[in-house]
């Protein structure tokens, strides 16, 4: 490690104001690999009195917290809501009002399917101060570790990130016609339990049944699994391989590019 790094790491940067008592930093922890935490995220974590985290934040990242820091787990797996969102929002407000320095640590990025906006809105209502630090979103982390470029001159000129989380009526309110158009990569977050709905709707809207897809389970962690198949086989693939959340679905011809032999992947299996 050469001196500029040490200076950077050990002294605070002039424009980097420290976390204030009563302030909340909403921080994206990235997709799982602790190496994908940002420098700023770690700097703020070091100043926290209390860290509120959910299931998508891995043990490797929690190990970086100072030992005296209080941690509160608020769940967030599908079907394992330790605390409902409204109560998480209220908890943040309550704790910040006691004058503690709070970090709300979330998997991925707080403003891409992280419900960060709702948490911040409640803080603002309560007149509390806050800041938001982006994290590597699952689409970016998982695609990279699986060797799948999300955009590519010859394959995809755009990329759409979509939630696959079903509404109560079992439907997804999406513009399927637009999603079925060629020349783009589709990324479904939280979609592993909705593959039947996704495949049916995309196929009905005209996306070819043989469109390549990839499923990435526990992406960027040492347990990452990457499975490739085609759109029509997607629901069977998920059932056959017993794929569980957190998983990401990528749909589009970029998933047929296979450069992951050089990626830090421990376990790789190819379906079909």
């Amino acid at each position: 490690m050469h001196p500029p790094i040490l200076n950077q790491m050990l002294s605070s940067v002039p424009d980097d104001s420290p976390l204030q008592p009563g302030e909340v930093a909403l921080i994206g922890a990235g997709p799982g690999d602790p190496g994908l935490l940002t420098v700023r995220a770690l700097r703020l974590l070091a100043q926290a009195d209390t860290v509120i985290y959910d299931r998508l934040v891995g043990a490797g990242i929690m190990a970086l917290l100072p030992p005296q820091c209080q941690t509160i787990y608020v769940g967030k797996a599908a079907g394992d809501h330790v605390l409902p969102q409204e109560e998480i929002n209220q908890l943040l407000v309550r704790l910040a009002r006691t004058g503690k320095r709070i970090v709300r640590l979330k998997g991925g990025d707080p403003y891409i399917f992280g419900r960060g906006g709702e948490e911040i809105e409640d803080l603002r209502h309560a007149g509390l101060s806050y800041r938001v630090i982006p994290g590597i979103t699952a689409a970016s982390g998982c695609a990279t570790y699986a060797g799948i470029p999300l955009t590519h001159r010859d394959h995809a000129q755009s990329c759409t990130l979509v939630t696959g989380h079903l509404k109560k009526d079992g439907e997804l309110d999406l513009n399927w016609q637009a999603l079925a158009q060629p020349g783009q990569t589709l990324v479904f977050y939280m979609g592993v339990n909705s593959t039947v709905v996704i495949t049916e709707n995309l196929t009905a809207a005209g996306l070819a049944a043989e469109t390549p897809v990839a499923v990435i389970e526990r992406g960027t962690t040492a347990q990452q699994r990457v499975l490739r198949s085609t759109l029509d086989d997607l629901p069977r693939l998920v059932a056959r391989e017993d794929i569980r959340p957190p998983s990401l679905l990528i749909i589009g011809s970029v998933t047929a590019l296979a450069y992951d032999e050089f990626q830090p992947v421990v376990q790789e299996s190819v379906a079909c």
């Binding site: 490690m1 420098v39 695609a143 990329c159």
Partner: protein, 456 residues
């Protein structure tokens, strides 16, 4: 320096630990983890101590320590009661018996102390400020923790195994040279990237003297601008590279992290300022890697989201050059967080689409109809000069002309500006202003949250 750091084998001497509270519990866990035999004396036991009761290394005497307590010579004594007078007297008794003493309540009266430890066994890093400042110790420890990923365990274990093999295979005078070459080779970085098999292969080649060493390319996302949004994995690879190729979107502050001896080359990438054309860049990467170097290709944002990373690795793969890709915070994510505009939101957007507004022949060819959906946020990369055209096309395709639009100028940098207008008014808005690249455009009702959620 009046302290001497030594590393003690946990089982070398028995420990006596006096005290049953939280401080004692922490010391006990540290000692048991190191394989030390511990005799613990305390009238009441902290839950963490009670939980260790079955451990064969631990014997508990559940009673108060007396002022006349005696100690076996040769044991190490840790005093962790909250009674200063008792600790002081026990320290005297212990030293009389020839024991070394650690008092947890008094930094001036210690024969030994417990440093903070980063445990990547077999690698251990201990940090001590000689009792001067526990807060500083924690501070340094935490920073080092992040620089030593858990995979250092594997690196240590690999080196340990290799050491036995080297002793058998190489004559003593050759060993030091081998280790120098090995630690500077790709093998350690491959182990950290969880690629043990390739590390084995590189090591075997080194051992067999096949010094035609293959380099490697690291394709690394530098994030949207703020140097603090670099990831630790990116930082580590930036520091370890021998040669660096970077483009215009990389913050100069990030270039400061490059090793001073590394060669660095600017390869352009401003719109009409391709210092080196794309094909030329690929050839430079291949040539540098073939000469055995660790080559860093540093790009703004994320290499796989409008970074042409896919094309670059295709060329590398075709040339048989190994590579690693490290994601970066993409501009959409960085600008959204720093501008206070969530890209998805329960009440506004269930999806977000990234497109590039890069102009070709003065126009940009986007599937306008597909981009119009009220429940979707649209993010346009590189779209400043085409923005009037983009706004007009979106309206022509049926997007509401009152749809809010945010133009984030120099996103995440200290001089970031957020310009908010509507699809209809944005062209006039920018016509009257000087706006500097890089910019990012966000279109959709989430932009209406900016006024409420902005924080910088």
């Amino acid at each position: 320096m009046m302290n001497l750091p030594l590393v003690l084998r946990g089982s070398a001497r028995p420990f006596v630990l006096v005290g049953g509270g939280q401080v004692a519990a922490r010391k006990l866990l540290t000692l048991l983890k190191a394989g030390a035999q511990v005799q613990l004396i305390a009238p009441e036991l902290h839950a963490d101590i009670a939980a260790c009761a079955g451990n064969p290394l631990l014997s508990i005497e559940q009673r108060p320590a007396s002022l006349t307590e005696t100690f076996d010579s040769g044991s190490l004594v840790v005093l962790a009661t909250d009674n200063h007078a008792l600790n002081k007297q026990l320290a005297i008794n212990a030293r009389k018996a020839g024991c070394l003493v650690c008092r947890c309540d008094e930094t001036e009266d210690n024969d030994f102390i417990f440093p903070a430890v980063i445990d990547r066994s077999p690698l251990l890093v201990s940090i001590s400020t000689s009792g001067a400042s526990p807060a500083l110790t924690r501070h340094v420890r935490q920073r080092l923790e992040a620089f030593l990923p858990q995979e250092y365990r594997d690196l240590g274990a690999f080196a340990e195994r290799l050491r036995g093999q080297i002793k058998q295979q190489l004559a003593a005078p050759l060993r030091a040279g081998f280790w120098r070459r090995w630690i500077g080779s790709l093998a350690p970085e491959l182990i950290l990237a969880r690629q043990a098999e390739r590390a084995e292969a590189v090591t075997a080649e080194l051992l067999n003297g096949d010094v035609e060493e293959q380099g490697e390319v690291y394709l690394v996302g530098a994030g949207p601008g703020d140097p603090d949004l670099l990831t630790f994995r990116a930082l580590r690879l930036i520091q370890s590279a021998d040669v660096v190729f970077y483009d215009r979107l990389v913050n100069p502050l990030i270039l400061d992290f490059i090793h001073p001896q590394a060669e660095r080359f600017y390869v352009g990438k401003a719109k009409s300022d391709h210092a080196v054309p794309q094909e030329g860049i690929n050839q430079l990467l291949v040539d540098a890697a073939r000469s055995g170097k660790k080559v860093l290709r540093l790009k703004g944002g994320d290499p796989f989201i409008f970074g042409r990373g896919g094309e670059e690795i295709e060329e590398l793969a075709a040339a048989g050059i190994p590579f690693q890709v490290v994601p970066g915070i993409t501009a959409a994510s960085g600008c959204a967080a720093y501008a206070g505009i969530p890209l998805t939101h329960r009440d506004h957007a269930q999806s977000v689409r990234f497109v590039t507004g890069h102009l070709k022949n003065g126009t940009c060819d986007l599937p306008w109809q597909e981009l119009v959906h009220p429940g979707q946020t649209l993010v346009i990369y590189m779209g400043l000069s085409g923005l009037p055209h983009i706004c007009a096309q979106l309206m022509a395709a049926g997007m509401e002309k009152t749809t809010p639009v945010a133009l984030v100028e120099k996103g995440t940098l200290p001089d970031q500006k957020v310009h908010v207008s509507t699809l209809e008014d944005m062209p006039d808005y920018i016509a009257g202003r000087t706006i500097q690249a890089p910019t990012l455009t966000i279109v959709g009702s989430v932009v209406s949250l900016h006024e409420r959620l902005k924080w910088r």
